[in-house]
Structures are given as C-alpha cells and as structure tokens.
Symmetry: C2
Subunit: 199 residues, 2 copies
C-alpha cells in the first residue's frame, strides 16, 4: 500500500492493530477521520494522548484509572470486607454494570497458564493474600471465567488463601436470565440441575 502519504499510511497500520479492525476497515476508519479532521480526529487524538499519559493501575486492586488509588478502593462505603477477584478490567467493568456488588475488587491481570508460563507472581496473587491479611477481608468472591484456565486459577487461589481462614465463594452457575434451555450447552444445564433450589 503505497498510495497514501507516509504519515497517513503509518496511521492506518497502527489502527489496523486494534481488535475488530483489519487493514481494509482501518483504511475506511482513517478516511472517515480525514473527512472529520476538526470534529473527530483532533479530539480523538487528544483524548487518546490524555489517557495514554494519565492511565495507571490502582496500587491496591489493579483496576485501571487516572489516580494512584482507584475510585472504588478510595470509596469508604465499599469497605464491606468483601473482595471480588476478577481476571481483568473488562470483567470488573462487567461486574460494575451489574450493579449488584458493593465491595472492592482485586484484578489478577490474567489467569495461570503453564503454556504461556504465567505464574502466581505475574497475577498479583501474593498481593491478594497480603490484602486479605491486612484489610480485615471477610469474604473473597472468585468471579473468574468458567474456562479451564479460569477454574485452575480459582483452585490455586483457594489453596493460597486457606491459611487465612477467609470465607471463599464463587459465582453461581446456571441458566442465564432470559436464557432458553434449548440453546444452552449440556454442562450448563447439568450445573443448573445440580444447584436447583426449592421454590
């Protein structure tokens, strides 16, 4: 692709590295930005530079924000003694959208993986053990994904926390709200049946 000027070509190449965009859609996005230079391109460049400069991981929980300690950790009303362990910031945002959890978080930054040689140190697990001992945590909720790596990590964390005697729980498995049985996989139906409740 040598048809666009060098600067624009570099921009297209960088845009093409975003998830959901390939070379063609990156070119289309850049052409649209070129049409809206003042209205969209300049503000977007500015917003991106601001975030790139200011974003940092919360020193306590690993949530991303623009302050040393994130708004959730800084909020005294959320010092409920409950800590919800999530794989990444996307999962934290998903939990917050649910508006059901009132405690604090601990973002692991991934899952244990022998293949990618990700060990407990890379995952802020020692930090979690420290927090449980130091912050008077009463319950640790493991909100990890229901994948093999996620469940392996959950087991490892439960073992690591055993000496602290903190209560450990995981999210319930079952039929999603609005879910249709016909479209659910067998594992979910089995889990929902085993965890059935009296009405």
């Amino acid at each position: 692709m040598t048809e666009a000027p060098r600067d624009i070509e570099s921009l297209i190449e960088l845009m093409a590295r975003l998830p959901g965009l390939g070379p063609r859609s990156a070119r289309r996005a850049v052409l649209m930005l070129l049409k809206k230079r003042a209205g969209l391109m300049a503000p977007l460049a500015q917003a991106m530079a601001t975030v790139a400069l200011n974003a940092r991981d919360c020193r306590l929980c690993g949530n991303i924000g623009t302050t040393d300690i994130c708004p959730i950790c800084a909020d005294d009303r959320r010092a409920t003694g409950e800590v919800c362990v999530v794989e990444n910031v996307a999962d934290l945002w998903a939990m917050e959208r649910g508006r059901a959890f009132k405690g604090r978080y601990h973002v692991l930054g991934g899952t244990l993986s022998a293949l990618d040689s990700v060990g407990p140190e890379e995952l802020r697990i020692p930090l979690l053990v420290e927090r449980v001992q130091a912050e008077g945590v009463t319950e640790v909720i493991l909100a990890l994904n229901a994948t093999v790596d996620g469940q392996t990590t959950a087991h490892y964390i439960a073992d690591a926390l055993a000496p602290t005697n903190v209560q450990i729980s995981t999210l319930a498995q079952g039929v999603p709200i609005g879910g249709e049985l016909d479209y659910l996989d067998d594992g979910t139906i089995g889990a929902a049946l085993r965890a059935r409740r009296r009405v």
Copy 2:
C-alpha cells in the same frame, strides 16, 4: 456506562463513532490500548495528532496529503495529459493500487445529489473545467461508481466539458477478472455482452 473513569469513558465514546466499531467493540479496543499504553496507544495518539494537524486537500486535484500540492500532481512524469475523475480519495487509492493509470486525478468529493442538495459547485466540477482549459488536458477518464448518482454526475461532467472538445471516456463495464458468470447480476452480463470483443 459509568464504570470506567471519565477520561477513558470519553475515549470509548469517540472510538465508537468510527465506522466498524460500536460501543462494545470500542470498549474492547480501548481496553487493548490500555494494556499497550507505551507500545500502541501513545504512538497511535501521536500519529493521529500529526495527521490531524498536517493533512490537507491538494489545491489542484483534491487528493489528501500533507503538502499543498499532492505528490501525484507534483510528479512531472504524470503530466500525461490524462485526468482521471474519481468520487473520493478512497477511489483514488483504489485506482493507484491497480497501478494501471499513469496520469493525474481530479477528486470530486462526492456525487451530484438532488436529495442531499449537492450541486456542481460543491463537487469541484468548475475547477475541473478550469484545469482542462489551463493544463492542456487531452483526455478525461470518468472513473465514477456505476450507481445512479455516479452516472448522473458523469453525464453532467460530460456536458460541462463539451465546449472544451476534450476527449471523454469512462471505465469499461464487464466481467471482473476471476468473476463467475453465475454470480454476476443481469445488468453486468448484458453490458459485457454488448461490449464484446473479437478474439
């Protein structure tokens, strides 16, 4: 969406205005950028700011570039007397990828449209007539899209150029290279049959 800090939320909203990205995929792209702050986010912000600041339309042909006169217009070897008229910069890049045209371009910036009240003045058509008279142009190739608006515009331009006696041509219509007859629409097959060549 109040789960992310204000700065990051603004960035997600701006990203969601790009073609091909919606609110969900914009959030995913921003999370990925947040993970690669130094490696991708900062360079992307920088590249975007540079282009937003430097990009300008070529004074002669309307091509986008970082100079007052684009590299194609500035290239003496392309002063062949042929001018290829295209709707927009994306079409110019597509022509350049084809590597078949050695002349210069004229970017209209759209097509005539009564509905959107786009007239000849908005489309740099008077400028095209001026260029044909001033630059010793021998042939104008109308490479407009084979849509109703594109063909209306092509007819209007042919009429506007009639007094200059310049030769006017359009791209051939027919079967695309590698195209299968079974998948072609009836109009294309008809056009290819009418324009058939002796072998």
